[in-house]
Every structure is written in C-alpha cells, then in structure tokens.
C-alpha cells in the first residue's frame, strides 16, 4: 500500500532513512526526480544509504504515474518528490494523493518562511494552493515525532 508521500528537496537523506522508513515499515522507496534519474553517482549514493531489504526506484513523473499503483499492490511504498511542481504534475496526470508530508524546503533565494521547516517562494506557494485545492492535505512535519502543521491553513 501507499504508506507515505513526502516532499523533500534533499530526497533520501538522514531523517528519511533513520526515521520515516522504520516508522512506516517501508519496503520500497520511489524517488521521483528527473535529474537524479540521469545521475549515476547520486543514484549510487542514495542506494548505498538505504538498508538492503528496501528496494529503491528512480523515476520521472510520467513513470511514477504509470507504475505507482502496481508497486503499491506488492510493497509498502514511500514516494518522495523533490519539489511541489512534480507533485502537481503527478496529480494532473492521474496520480491519486490524499496527503503529502512536507519535509524540508530550505531557506534560499526569494523564499520566505511558511513554518519552521518550510520555506517557499510565491510560485511555490501558488503550487501549494493548487495542490490543496485538489483535496490533498499538506502536512509539514520533518520527523515522525514532530508536531504536524497543517499547511493548507497557513497558505
């Protein structure tokens, strides 16, 4: 089943590997990010970081839409997106999501702080609103033990 969908610009990193994967008993991670798909070094580094019993898939949005339902039949799946644009595209192309865990979006460029761990610029805020408009709950929460913040109420 689809256990958790996360937005995290760092994709697979410490918090994901040490907390979320164990907490949600994940058996497979689908990383949706086109640039990583074509970067062998980054793929190797991320694969190295994940325990061997967890499989890991690197896909672009189209392939994610095409394959995620089948993966959910056999695996306890975590989908990780690197940016909000890909999530909106995923939904627009037929992907079904109820809830997105918004992990880190760091402070850079024109971004302003939305809540403790989330910074977004105007365009990204607009995308958040569009996603929320499709009845998707956006929940900001870095770690499973953190208190969650309902982003849809702030944006």
């Amino acid at each position: 089943m689809l256990k958790i969908v996360r937005l995290d610009e760092r994709l697979i990193h410490g918090q994901v590997v040490t907390s979320w994967v164990t907490n949600e008993s994940i058996t497979e991670i689908m990383v949706v990010d086109k640039s990583v798909c074509n970067d062998e070094l980054r793929k190797s580094l991320m694969s190295m970081a994940v325990p061997e019993y967890i499989s890991i898939l690197f896909v672009d949005v189209d392939e994610a839409v095409r394959t995620y339902e089948e993966e959910c039949e056999y695996e306890d799946l975590m989908i990780i997106f690197g940016n909000p644009y890909d999530i909106l595209e995923f939904i627009n192309k037929g992907g079904k999501l109820n809830r997105v865990n918004v992990g880190g979006m760091s402070c850079k460029g024109q971004r302003r702080q939305v809540c403790t761990s989330v910074f977004a610029d105007e365009k990204e805020m607009e995308i958040f609103r569009e996603i929320a408009g499709k009845n998707v709950v956006l929940e900001a929460k870095m770690l499973p033990t953190d208190k969650s913040v309902d982003l849809t109420k702030i944006i």
């Binding site: 760092r10 970081a49 870095m142």
Partner: protein, 146 residues
C-alpha cells in the same frame, strides 16, 4: 599533508573534535562543520568549500556522521572533483587514530586506518570479559593438569 573535515547533523562534529583535544591535544589540519536544522544544502556546500580552502591541504579526508545523511550526500558528490575520500560513522577511536597521522600518511592509508580503528574501537565489554575469563580458566586448567 591531508586535511581532515568532520561533518555532522547538529553539534556532534565540533564536540567530537573538542573531545579529541582532551585526549590528544591540538594537532591542527582539521575543521568541523555542524549542519544545522533549516540550513540549505547550498550553504553546506559553501561551508565545505571554505573549510577546504582554509585547510590548504593536498588532499582531504572527510568524515561524516551517518551513511545517507546530507553531509554524506553533499561531500560524496565532490569525491570526483577534489582529491578526497569520505568515511561514514565518525567515532572517537577513528578520530584519535587519524589525527596524529595527517602529515605523514597518504589519503588512501588514512582511509583504511580510519575504517579499521573505527570498527575495532567498538567493543562489547561483557562479551570480551567472558572471553577473557574463559581463556584464563582454560589456562589455569592446563597448569593444574601439568
């Protein structure tokens, strides 16, 4: 000379370096970077570049706290560019072994030493005591049998 770079989530890297000074004194050629909550990967990249410049070494041994964390991800991407290697799982045994050797050993040698010392420094004391006691008992028996 090889420069040593310690990078952690939060204060561990700096604290480990401070602790090493209690046991060894200050050897130099080492920088610690603490990657804090809310910091961007770009900032971390910049910090690493700055630390490398400050160290002004021929090569760099980077020790990060955990496999798969952001310090690991960011520093490992630079393996191809700079003459450097990344070792995961900073611990005191590895640090204490490597610090005094930065001027004399090559990057490859230091990498091996760090991994070996790091692993060997982790000991289950109860189990070791058991083993030692068994060996002693066997030893005594041999003496008695003689």
């Amino acid at each position: 000379m090889t420069g040593l770079l310690l990078i952690s989530h939060g204060p561990f890297a700096k604290a480990a370096l401070e602790s090493s000074k209690v046991l060894l004194g200050d050897y130099g050629h080492v920088k610690a970077i603490c990657f804090e909550v809310g910091e961007s990967t770009n900032q971390l990249e910049a910090d690493i570049q700055q630390a490398k410049q400050d160290l002004n070494a021929d090569s760099f041994l980077v020790m990060v706290d955990v496999l798969g964390g952001t310090p690991f991800n960011v520093s490992s991407l630079q393996i191809a560019k700079d003459k450097c290697n990344v070792i995961t799982g900073i611990n005191m045994p590895a640090l204490l072994e490597v610090l005094p050797l930065l001027e004399t050993k090559s990057l490859e040698e230091l990498s091996g030493i760090a991994v070996e010392a790091g692993k060997e420094g982790i000991v289950d004391v109860a189990q070791s005591l058991n083993k030692t006691n068994q060996t002693r008992k066997r030893g005594r028996k041999n003496v008695e049998n003689r």
